[in-house]
């Protein structure tokens, strides 16, 4: 079965559970943002109600967005600037 590998860069509170630096995430193809969000549920430090945005190409992506090999994705909790 074909696998895809993408780079994940967490921001904010997600760093406490996923680490300060980026990492590679692999999944059977086809994979979507929904698969990534489901995978995040295994981390006890990430509250299941925490809204997590997935960003690719400087754009917030919906659950159905299909992931491709080599993509760099950013995981973001609710923003808190300003």
């Amino acid at each position: 079965m074909e696998r895809i590998s993408v780079t994940i860069m967490p921001f904010g509170i997600l760093k406490d559970s996923l680490g300060q630096d980026g990492f590679q995430w692999e999944h059977d193809a086809p994979a979507s943002v929904k698969h990534l969000r489901d995978w995040l549920k295994q981390f006890p430090g990430i509250h299941p109600d925490l809204p997590i945005a997935v960003v690719f190409d400087n754009t917030y992506q919906p659950d159905e967005f299909e992931l491709s090999n080599g993509m760099q994705l950013y995981l973001m909790p609710p923003v808190s600037g300003g």
């Binding site: 406490d16 917030y60 950013y74 808190s80 600037g81 300003g82």
Partner: protein
């Protein structure tokens, strides 16, 4: 409309903001500074500083979208926005905003809308740090420690 968006580890001066937003036909300028508050953290320690991080390129792109929506609602002539990244001590400014318009209501309305939208979509994140070096990520409207 004349506009400036920047995000960096370097502070700017109020004079720079004022000079930018004051156009020949300006009748009202509103200058806003967002200052780090010495709030009490959930562990009852006091905030000594806040560390900001963000995705700069996307943040600038979101600010551009926000400025477009502001222009649809308010008649403004100039808009200046600067947000610091990195560590900012309590009492220090982290955000500078300036709006220039012909009329007061447009300037105030635009500022209010800008800050509301920044807090919804601009990818900047903050971590409160106490004098004792405890850290607490700020997640608006969400009590993740419950």
């Amino acid at each position: 409309m004349k506009k400036h968006f920047s995000i960096s580890t370097h502070p700017v001066s109020l004079e720079e903001v004022k000079t930018f937003v004051h156009q020949p036909e300006t009748g009202a300028t509103v200058i806003f500074e967002g200052i780090v508050r010495p709030d009490t953290m959930p562990n009852q320690e006091q905030v000594a500083n806040i560390e900001y991080e963000g995705l700069t390129e996307m943040a600038l792109s979101e600010l551009e979208k926000i400025s477009n929506s502001i222009q649809e609602r308010y008649e403004i002539q100039s808009l200046y926005f600067h947000h610091l990244l990195g560590k900012v001590d309590a009492g220090q400014t982290a955000v500078w905003v300036g709006i220039g318009a012909k009329h007061r209501k447009d300037a105030f309305g635009a500022l209010d809308l800008l800050m509301d939208e920044v807090k919804k979509s601009v990818p900047i994140f903050k971590k409160e740090i106490s004098q004792q070096q405890s850290a607490h990520w700020v997640v608006p409207n969400y009590n993740y420690e419950k």
